[in-house]
């Protein structure tokens, strides 16, 4: 048997769509606006997510970290990489830095201690850093309100803590900290600068000390560190970079673990996953509401054509072909709406990307899950939102046609032909 010409059903569906141009235009407009709303909402959510992840990882932690496998979660000062022997720090930093996608590598050591100025004392997290390398990973370097990064024998303090103990750049403070050999280390440091990250947990608790100076204070060999923080090109590629870094540093010490931010920023990752799911729900709600309106319109359109369906069936058209015509109409309606929606959405997204909504008149900078959030509603370019919305839009067109299609094949031909 010769091949059947299936394109007749497509042609009929397309022509049927334009029989009532005004109705089609109104229905397509509703779907197009739904598409624009979904794309914009998802883009705003993505913008917020990007800000959340970017601030959560670029301010201090980096997107990938290397530790000794038993360092987290207790963070004991004894659990340095390579054990008590330490490791070849230059080789480690060099190996990690050579991995594709890595943009910065910063070795760090941590300790806990007391910092005193005059009569005032406060507990502090002592963070030993290589100031030059830290510039490529964290934002400490650009967060100084006054002064700058610490050199040997110097210390930088968060603005909140500086206020608590009443010190300023150029003044001396005493730092007392338990050392790795069981003794108590104490040293006089000169304040090099006051930083302000805008995150309460850091500005009132962290102090930056030049790495070698902290190792000396804590009686640790210069080859001993607790952490290497790594920054990458794109936060969403951290998993792949972490795997490559793990390969690159594998031979340098036993029991090194390399983790992307999704592991060590578990809560942040959970939050971003939740927001991803929220995007899908937003699209579902918008298009779920549209389904009923579009289905109603299509039901009316198929009811008006029940006589035509009866004629087609009386000529031998199968129920399947009738369903195909109606569903194709839904598909075409979705595609037309998608075309119009894309033309509308593109300039809106570009505008809000270039000119973020500034909400600073209503709210100030705030800290959320360890991330300093700016009061800006930014829109992030991404294919995910448009793709999810496009699939939802086409799905809405097709799903809206299913019930009308079912009704169309339920028309008894003789009854429909008898009606005028």
């Amino acid at each position: 048997m010769a091949r059947r010409d299936n394109d007749i059903w497509w042609r009929m569906a397309w022509r049927n769509l334009w029989r009532n141009r005004r109705r089609t235009a109104i229905t397509a407009s509703a779907l197009s606006f739904g598409f624009v709303a979904a794309v914009l909402m998802i883009a705003l959510m993505d913008g917020m997510l990007e800000q959340l992840v970017s601030n959560g990882t670029r301010v201090i932690t980096g997107q990938v970290q290397i530790h000794a496998d038993d360092y987290r979660p207790e963070r004991s000062m004894h659990d340095t990489m390579g054990g008590r022997e330490g490791l070849d720090l230059a080789a480690l930093v060099g190996a990690a830095g050579s991995v594709e996608g890595v943009t910065g590598v910063a070795p760090r050591a941590y300790g806990g201690g007391l910092i005193s100025s005059g009569d005032e004392t406060a507990g502090a997290v002592l963070m030993g850093i290589d100031p030059r390398r830290e510039e490529g990973v964290s934002r400490f370097g650009t967060s100084f309100v006054v002064g700058g990064m610490p050199g040997p024998g110097e210390i930088a303090i968060g603005n909140a803590m500086a206020g608590t103990i009443g010190t300023a750049p150029g003044e001396e403070v005493v730092v007392v900290a338990p050392a790795a050999d069981g003794s108590m280390g104490n040293e006089l440091f000169t304040v090099s600068g006051i930083f302000r990250l805008g995150m309460g947990g850091f500005d009132d608790a962290y102090v930056l000390v030049e790495l070698g100076s902290l190792q000396d204070l804590m009686a640790m060999d210069r080859s001993r560190i607790h952490e290497v923080a790594i920054s990458v090109d794109r936060a969403d590629q951290a998993d792949g970079v972490a795997a490559r870094v793990e390969e690159a540093v594998a031979g340098l010490a036993d029991s090194l673990v390399v983790e992307p931010w999704s592991v060590f920023h578990e809560q942040l990752y959970f939050m971003t996953s939740m927001m991803g799911a929220a995007n899908a729900i937003v699209a579902m709600i918008i298009f779920g509401m549209a389904i009923f309106g579009v289905a109603n319109t299509m039901l009316l359109a198929t009811f008006e054509r029940r006589r035509e369906f009866a004629v087609a069936r009386s000529l031998g058209t199968s129920a399947r072909s009738i369903v195909r015509i109606v569903v194709c109409e839904g598909l075409f309606l979705g595609l037309v709406s998608l075309g119009a929606g894309a033309l509308l959405a593109a300039p809106v997204v570009v505008y809000f990307h270039e000119f973020p909504l500034d909400l600073s008149s209503f709210i100030g900078t705030y800290s959320f899950m360890g991330s300093a959030m700016q009061p800006l509603m930014t829109v992030e370019y991404s294919w995910d939102g448009p793709l999810v919305s496009a699939v939802a839009l086409i799905g809405t067109g097709v799903a809206s046609a299913l019930y009308p299609a079912w009704r169309a094949i339920r028309v008894p031909p003789a009854d429909a032909l008898a009606s005028r």
Binding site: A2, R3, R4, N16, R19, V311, A312, L315, A319, L417
Partner: protein, 226 residues
Amino acid sequence: MRTEHLWKIYPQDPRPVEAVRGVDLTVWRGEFVAMAGPSGSGKTTMLNLVGGLTRPTRGKVWIEGEEISALSDRRLADLRMHRIGFVFQSYNLLPVLSALENAEFTLLLQGVPAAERRGRVRELFREIGLEGLEDRRPPKLSGGQQQRVAVARAVLGDPALVLADEPTANLDSHTAEALLDVMERLNRTKGTTFVFSTHDPRVMERARRLIRLVDGQIESDHAESG
């Protein structure tokens, strides 16, 4: 085509309507038959039953030896596609298709290749005076032209039987005569069986067999001699 003790009863308040009541009828291949009778006599219901558009309450229908009353919807659609052609009073062309596309619709369903379809349609259009109107949509055709396209659609699939429900009812006398000429010629040249339901005296005059229905029953059945 044969019916045996055919009944169609529509459930309706306060009393069911007996549209067809125990009709026994045989129509032979190549006949040109008119079923006449007043409104409500059961003419259209008979055509619907014979065409498989509605199922009998009781009784049986055979088309070319196949009993169709118990066939599935899918088999009935197949039967209509291959063996039965329909012509309706109000033309019932599909408005989104051109005259040519409407006429070739049944051939398309049958899977006839495009080139052959188009050739057959154009040839028939020449015969029945529709040449040059192939690309017009139904609203751009006169009533007579639309009905000729409907006849073309009905006969192009080479059906054993064409059922025509008051095909001249909406046509002026000149156009009705021309249409009857077309159908009579197709009946003679192709041997297609035609069964009409009609009020139209012109159709009754042309028919070679006239069946009168009253209240769902055959009142008389006269075949022209010779």
